[in-house]
Amino acid sequence: MEETPPTLRVVVISPVRIYVEGLAHLLDAEPGIRLTGTAGGVDTAMPLLDRPDVDVILLDMTGDMAGERGLTVLHRLAGITAVPCVVLGIPDRPAEVIACAEAGIAGYVTNEHGFADLVGTLRSATRGEFACGADIAAGLVGRLALLARDRRPAALVNLTSRELEIAALIESGYSNKEIARLLQIQLTTAKNHVHNILEKLGVRGRGQVMAAVRGRQWGTETARPPLRVLAESS
C-alpha cells in the first residue's frame, strides 16, 4: 500500500494578491498541504516564522517586497529562519539559480512551472532534495568546484593523488610505518612519498604538513617556491 506523505505546512510570502491569496488558496485546498499563513513581506511574516508548525516557506521573488528586491530579501530571510525556503519566479538560468542557492534556497520554481510542479518542489525541498535541470546542476557543481579550488591551499594542488592521500594521513597523526601498513606499501616507498611531500610543500616537518593540509598556515606561505625555502634551510 502506498504511504501517504505527511501534511506539509506552508507559509507563503508575496506582496501580490495573485500569489498571497490566489496561490495560497489553492495550496490550502491541495490534499496533504496546510497553509500555516501568508504575509506580504518578510517583516510581516516574522510572527509566522517563529511558529513551530512551518515546514517550508514559499517566497515570491517576482517583484518588490516592501522596497526590497530578490536576493536581499532572501539573504535576510536566511538570517532569520532555518526553515527550508522555496523561491518562486526566478529565471531558469544557472547564474540566477546559483545566486539563490548561495543565499540558501531549498528549491525554486519559475513562472513557467505549473501548480503541480510547485507542490512537488515544496515537498522535495522538505525531503532535502533540490530539483533542477541538468544545466543548473552542472552550474552548481561548477560553482562548488570553483569555491573548493579557492579554499584549497595552493601548494597542495601540486601533490599527486597518492601524496594527497598520505598528507591527509600525516595530518591524522599516522607514522610512516602506519601509513605503509594502511596503504599496503613498503616503508621505504612511504618514506619517499613523505620526502616528496615535504619537498613540494617546502616545509621541514610533519607538523607543517599538518598545518598545510588544514589550510591554516600555507594558504599564503606556499606562494613561495619550494626551492627558496630549501635554500633558506641549507
Binding site: V16, G89, G114, F115, A116
Partner: protein, 121 residues
C-alpha cells in the same frame, strides 16, 4: 444560459494554472483554453468560442494587440490582471456601442453619449 467561457492569453504558466483552478471551482464559468497572442485569440473566437478574454499585463501596451479583436467583437469583455499589482485589481475593457437613444436626433444622441461617457460610474 451556459457557463461563462473564458480564454486566457499572455499569461505565464503558473499564473495561468492559478486562475484556471480558481475558475474551475466555480460552476458558472469555464476556462476554454489558453493562447499566447492576438492571432491565436482571434482563431479561438470561432472555435471553441469565448465570452471573456483574460489577459495578463503589467503595461497597457500589452492590450494594443487585442484592440482589433475588441473592435470587431464589441460584446467581448477583456479582463486584465496585473500580476505585479499589490492590490490585485482587475481591469475590465470593452468597446461599448451605445445603442440606447440612437433613435433620437443625432445631435441629442451624441450629447447623451458624451454625458454617459463622462460618467465613470
Amino acid at each position: 444560459m451556459g457557463p461563462i467561457r473564458v480564454l486566457i492569453t499572455h499569461m505565464v504558466a503558473l499564473d495561468c494554472d492559478i486562475v484556471r483552478r480558481i475558475a474551475g471551482e466555480r460552476t458558472d464559468m469555464t476556462i476554454v483554453g489558453s493562447v499566447s497572442g492576438p492571432e491565436e485569440a482571434a482563431e479561438a473566437l470561432s472555435c471553441p468560442g469565448f465570452d471573456v478574454l483574460l489577459l495578463s499585463a503589467s503595461q497597457p501596451d500589452s492590450l494594443c494587440g487585442y484592440l482589433d479583436l475588441m473592435w470587431e467583437n464589441p460584446r467581448l469583455g477583456v479582463a486584465v490582471v496585473d500580476p505585479t499589482d499589490r492590490l490585485g485589481l482587475v481591469r475590465v475593457c470593452r468597446i461599448v456601442e451605445r445603442v440606447r437613444g440612437a433613435g433620437a436626433r443625432w445631435p441629442e444622441y451624441l450629447a447623451a453619449v458624451l454625458r454617459s461617457a463622462a460618467d465613470p460610474g
